[in-house]
């Protein structure tokens, strides 16, 4: 069983606002003082893959992580190997900068890389990348590879030649059956990715890392973007005049809060 998980490297999305420095001329966001990390939802996707591996101990399950970008850090991506992925494929090119590629271009590059890897029963992607928040690449990959796609999946069970999935809906979930190979977009309800132990971190350094460039995919000089980024500007945040409600004890503060809200006609 071959599983491929698509993981993007992004600047830590939880950094404070002033870390996301906008370069309006270059149309780039230049993160300051925040480290690159695995995109949050892609960790959910990897966790879903790891659970399949846990559940299919009697089988040979291989998890390959694919990441495309401009400068990818082994140290960051090795976290995926440390938690249990078996191999890392990095697809790097100066032109593959995150902001320079839209989802259409990214999906076509990742589909080309996955084709080159060749063996896949299941491909997993995250719900949206934590930098540009597009939420499209998974479905795009499926389209380019002409395989079925199921999105917002919180649970995966592999059976002979197909998978049973739980797909989150507005008022519950759907049980979906898909033939393999298929692409699955994991939902965050999968749950957080496990932590690697120190030993796993050390072992991860011995796991194979493959590095490909645009030329290896026959993809030099053409990006295929469908969107044109025109302008970047800071988001306006709400500013509150926070009135601190106090009390001798937190409980008293709680009671005072009720009084205050009632006086102001809010409850």
């Amino acid at each position: 069983m071959d599983i491929i998980v698509c993981i993007k490297q992004v600047p830590d999305p939880e950094g404070p606002q002033d870390c996301f420095v906008i370069n309006p001329e270059a149309l780039r966001v230049e993160p300051r003082g925040i480290p690159p990390v695995l995109s949050l939802f892609d960790e959910n996707a990897l966790e879903a893959a790891l659970r399949i591996k846990d559940a299919c101990r009697d089988q040979d399950v291989k998890i390959t992580v694919v990441s495309a970008g401009k400068k990818l850090s082994n140290a960051v991506l090795q976290k995926a190997l440390a938690v249990g992925a078996d191999e890392l494929v990095k697809v790097e090119d100066a032109a593959f900068e995150s902001g320079a590629l839209d989802s259409y271009a990214t999906a076509s590059i990742l589909a080309a890389a996955i084709r080159k890897i060749g063996r896949y029963d299941l491909i997993l992607a995250g719900r949206q990348a934590a930098d540009w928040n597009a939420g499209q690449v998974g479905i795009g990959i499926a389209r380019f590879l002409d395989i079925p796609a199921v999105t917002l999946v919180r649970k995966i069970e592999i059976q002979e030649g197909h998978a049973l999935l739980e797909r989150v809906t507005a008022d519950g979930y759907e049980a979906v059956k898909t033939p393999l190979p298929a692409l699955v977009v994991a939902s965050n309800e999968v749950g957080e990715m496990r932590y690697p132990t120190m030993i796993q971190r050390r072992e991860a350094k011995k796991k194979p890392i493959v590095a490909w460039g645009a030329a290896d995919l026959g993809r030099e000089g053409e990006l295929r973007n469908k969107l044109v980024l025109k302008r970047l500007f800071p988001a306006e945040m709400r500013k509150g005049e926070c009135m601190l409600v106090e009390g001798k004890t937190p409980a008293e503060a709680g009671r005072n809060l009720a009084r205050r809200l009632s006086q102001d006609g809010l409850i």
Binding site: P13, P16, F20, V29, N44, Y104, A107, D131, W132, N133, G135, Q136, I139, G140, R143, P148, A149, V150, L152, L164, V168, T169, A170, D171, Y173, E174, A175, V176, K177, T178, N188, E189, G191, K226, L227, L229, K230, R231, L232, F233, P234, A235, M237, R238, G240, E241, C242, M243, V245, P250, A251, A253, G254, R255, L257, A258, R259, L261, D264, L266
Partner: protein, 331 residues
């Protein structure tokens, strides 16, 4: 007959009771502005089974035409059938732009449609801007810290609109548009992903959207027991219970209670945030609330920067006292 070549196609969604979703009416507002800039008309599309009444209702909102795809195989959303039907409508209408609400359905459908049409897609758009005849689509990126404006290098433009980004179109007594039924050929046997079962999970209490008061919990609430306490407070206030992302991921709160960039966008009169740090992705979903209360033990928590009222303290001590006092007041 559909004649509105080069128009803006507005995908209209209905709820279980065949009521048109507010977001679809917000799409009409954006769609009309977009159509004007592109020099075409607006076509609303309703797809489903037994949605004829909703289609008729849709003629009251100022669109030029309503397309109705009524087919027994479209009872519930199934991506392959819906996309197949949608692409057939596109062949007839030949739209220059396609607008959908940023709903759970369109999260799945919009990328499928865009890739099938070999075109681009802007998701979670918060502003459709027209300047000097050029239309651009603005969306939050980088944890909602940065706004990005896009144009398209391909057509049709496909865009999903965030709820509450536009005013809903108003209902008019007269209905100028006609309903055009569109026949589609669907082959249910060709479907690759089969839905075996649709499970409705019990959902007690008021819904987030439309709630006047929301009591929302974060990672600081510590577990499902904490959420039960929030529920008690919410019941007293006739409020809905919301959550930040971690409680939903960890199963302390149902997925649909998530508020934020990837959850519901809410705007109640009162939003009470308990044990929520105030990450930009959370704020993105609740900053339009009229008043915000923050209860957090960390005085430096970001949530206090956007809150109107704050209590610094452990919720375990603050919330029970708050609940008792509320129940006194409510007596």
């Amino acid at each position: 007959m559909v004649s509105s070549e080069g128009s803006v196609l507005i995908v209209t969604e209905v709820d279980k009771n065949q009521e048109i979703l507010p977001i679809s009416l917000e799409c009409v507002t954006a769609g009309k502005r977009l159509a004007e800039a592109l020099g075409g008309g607006t076509v609303a599309l309703i797809m489903g089974a037994g949605v004829g009444e909703a289609a008729k209702e849709m003629t009251h909102y100022g669109v030029d035409e309503v397309c109705l795809v009524d087919h027994p195989d479209l009872t519930a959303y199934q991506p392959e059938l819906y996309v197949a039907a949608f692409l057939q409508v596109c062949e007839r209408v030949n739209p220059r732009a396609i607008l959908m609400g940023d709903t759970l359905t369109s999260i799945d459908m919009a990328p499928r449609v865009a890739f099938a049409l070999n075109t681009g897609l802007v998701t979670d758009c918060v502003a459709v801007e027209v300047s000097d005849g050029e239309v651009s689509f603005v969306k939050p990126v980088y944890s909602s810290n940065v706004m990005a404006a896009y144009t398209f290098a391909s057509e049709p433009y496909v865009v999903t609109l965030r709820s509450r980004a536009e005013e809903a179109a108003e209902r008019q007594e007269t209905a100028d548009a006609g309903v055009t039924p569109v026949d589609v050929k669907l082959d249910a046997a060709s479907v690759r992903t089969e839905v075996l079962q649709r499970v409705v999970e019990e959902d007690a209490g008021p819904k987030l959207t439309g709630a006047d008061i929301i009591v929302s919990g974060g990672r600081g609430v510590g577990g499902p027991e904490g959420f039960e306490q929030l529920k008690e407070l919410a019941d007293l206030l006739h409020a809905a219970v919301g959550a930040s992302r971690p409680p939903c991921d960890l199963g302390w709160a149902p997925p649909k209670s998530q508020v934020g960039q990837t959850g519901e966008k809410v705007a109640p009169s009162l939003y009470i945030a308990v044990g929520i740090s105030g990450a930009t992705q959370h704020i993105a979903g609740m900053q339009s609330s009229k008043k915000i209360v923050a209860i957090n033990k960390d005085p430096k928590a970001n949530i206090f920067k956007i809150a109107d009222y704050g209590v610094i303290g452990r919720w375990e001590e603050v919330v029970p006292a708050l609940r008792e006092a509320v129940s006194e007041i409510r007596k």
